[in-house]
């Protein structure tokens, strides 16, 4: 145990001293870093955590990038995605349909949410928008409670994925997570290229800055906004659907995911797809290696990391200074 490690987490030390157990476990971390099996496994688990986080966060960053809306209701879309998927799975027994239901259902929800509600507060104070989102967090949680009940639920892992995990280069990877990583990567590539290369991507980013001018150039901004929200909602919903087999479903489940997604988008730079990807992966790695070295301070590590990033780069890793 080094001196810096002790001062790093003083409160824990005091508490743990009573229980005679180490606040930081640098030996474990060092042990893990020097064992290739551990290194591979923890890296892949970081990747897994990161990729799912990315799917949620990318919608958030997209919506912020385009509409400058800090979408506090994003977690609710994740929640709805999970519930839709679970219900569809129970009704049809088909995993594919469940994923579709999660994604499509939330896309529609996103569209309605934007067109009917959010679109009315674009001119107003930014915080007014946050408020509308917040209202929907409250409403959505209660709606889920009314429809599905207050108890937590589980969707269950489809039989096809109830198989032994794969051993890749000494690390352990469940096949289900391979699927998850694949989906997230595809989303990252499609979105990343789509937004930077295509005209529609450029238009979307321009509409973010100056909707009046964009519409004066003959572009239907309402359509774009609705579309972006639907896309963002869909990504969150898809993430929720993909998470449903391995996470418990409960009203308010979107909340913790939302907070982590915010950390990811802020670290990566609000509005940057690449940033969201890198941010999510970094966070995943912090979690997976942090749990080795600082089992009691993983959460704190994430916030600390966020502060450090923002202090050294005030707009996140890939964020642009507002012009």
């Amino acid at each position: 145990m080094t001196v810096s490690a002790v001062s790093f987490d003083l409160p824990r030390c005091i508490r743990r001293a009573a229980n005679e157990s180490a606040p930081v476990d640098l030996d474990a971390l060092a042990g893990c870093l020097s064992s290739s099996a551990c290194l591979v496994t923890q890296t892949t688990s970081g990747l897994i955590i990161g990729m799912l986080l990315f799917l949620v966060a990318v919608g958030l960053t997209l919506i912020f990038g385009v509409l400058k809306v800090v979408n506090f209701s994003h977690g609710a879309f994740y929640m709805f995605g999970a519930y839709f998927a679970m219900t569809a799975y129970q009704l049809t027994g088909s995993f594919a349909l469940a994923m579709l239901a999660g994604a499509a259902g939330t896309a529609v929800l996103g569209l309605i949410f934007e067109r009917v509600f959010m679109s009315r507060v674009y001119g107003a104070d930014v915080l007014m928008q946050v408020l509308v989102c917040y209202a929907f967090v409250l409403i959505f949680d209660d709606v889920v409670r009314m429809i599905w009940g207050p108890e937590f639920k589980a969707m269950g892992m489809p039989a096809a994925f109830q198989v032994m995990p794969l051993f890749i280069a000494g690390g352990v990877v469940p096949p289900y997570y391979l699927l998850l990583i694949g989906v997230a990567l595809v989303a990252a590539i499609v979105l990343g290229l789509g937004l930077s290369r295509s005209r529609i991507g450029k238009v979307i980013r321009a509409a973010a800055h100056n909707p009046g001018m964009v519409s004066a150039l003959g572009i239907n901004t309402g359509l774009i906004y609705g579309g972006v929200f639907a896309l963002g909602g869909m990504l969150a919903g898809l993430a929720g659907a993909l998470a449903a087999p391995v996470r418990s479903l409960t009203p308010g489940m979107g909340f913790s995911v939302l907070i982590e997604s915010f950390i990811v988008t802020v670290i990566g730079g609000m509005g940057s797809i690449l940033g969201a990807l890198i941010g999510a992966l970094l966070l995943g790695l912090i979690r997976s290696f942090g749990s080795q070295g600082f089992p009691l301070f993983v959460e704190g590590l994430m916030y600390l990391f966020m502060v450090i990033v923002l202090v050294s780069k005030p707009t996140g890793l890939f964020g642009k200074e507002a012009a």
Binding site: R199, K202, V203, R205, A206, H209, N210, G212, M213, V214, S215, A216, L217, G218, I219, N220, T221, G222, K320, A323
Partner: protein, 237 residues
């Protein structure tokens, strides 16, 4: 009035609770270059924004070749053939120059595509070397050129130009003047608000004078030049 490309009648426009335009009416015919003149704060920009649907009028009507367009969303109005260059330029600051142009790209109302990017660079040679530059970091004048070029990319049938010469070097102003004259000779219709009288009077075929939100005078350009009273009173010339 028959033959009018755009006809504005009885516009009342408010910002919040204060009324800015009072029954403004004007019309521009095919091929005309109409100058909208008036002092600072007279309501020129507001008139243009009202026509574009950016400051929706509370009363009155705007029609384009007989079809009412007031009440439409700005994008629908733009698609109907109006192209607008705002006074404060409003380039997309995080995009490159070329991206700005690409975003402005659209076919004209009759499907015409007269402004390929190549032609834009011919008309604005200064923009060509700046293609990959971030628009927000351009100089004021460079941004002004970009704003005009971007609107031309949309092949408008009617151009609304709000102070296009502001902040431009004389040599560029001269070039834009030539461009507008060229457009006119091609039959384009232009409504232009200007403070640079020298530039404007040399360009326009007709003029409408607005003061305190009301139209006070409308005539051919030569008539205006001859009418010293009006020039003194409203244009300080």
């Amino acid at each position: 009035m028959s033959g009018a490309v755009i006809e504005v009648a009885d516009l009342d426009v408010y910002y919040g609770t204060s009324q800015i335009l009072f029954g403004v009416g004007l019309s521009v015919r095919q091929g005309e270059t109409m100058a909208l003149l008036g002092r600072n704060g007279a309501g020129k920009s507001t008139t243009m924004k009202a026509i574009m649907g950016l400051a929706p009028p509370r009363r009155g009507r705007v029609s384009l070749r007989g079809a009412v367009i007031s009440g439409l969303k700005p994008h629908a109005i733009a698609r109907a053939g109006l192209g607008f260059v705002p006074e404060d330029r409003q380039v997309f600051p995080e995009h490159t120059v070329e991206d700005n142009l690409v975003i402005g790209k659209k076919k004209g109302p009759e499907g015409q595509d007269e402004w390929p990017i190549k032609r834009i660079y011919e008309v604005f040679p200064l923009l060509e070397p700046l293609r990959q530059r971030i628009a927000g970091r351009l100089s004021g004048g460079e941004q002004q050129m970009l704003a005009i070029a971007r609107t031309l990319m949309g092949n408008p049938a009617l151009l609304l130009l709000d102070e296009p010469s502001e902040g431009l070097a004389p040599i560029i102003v001269q070039r834009i003047g030539e461009l507008l004259r060229q457009l006119r000779s091609l039959g384009s219709t232009v409504l232009i608000a200007e403070q640079n009288m020298h530039f404007c009077l040399g360009l326009a075929s007709h003029a409408t004078v607005i003061d305190k939100g009301q139209i006070v005078y409308a005539a051919g350009i030569d008539e205006l030049k001859a009418n010293e009273a009006i020039r003194r009173r409203y244009l300080a010339l």
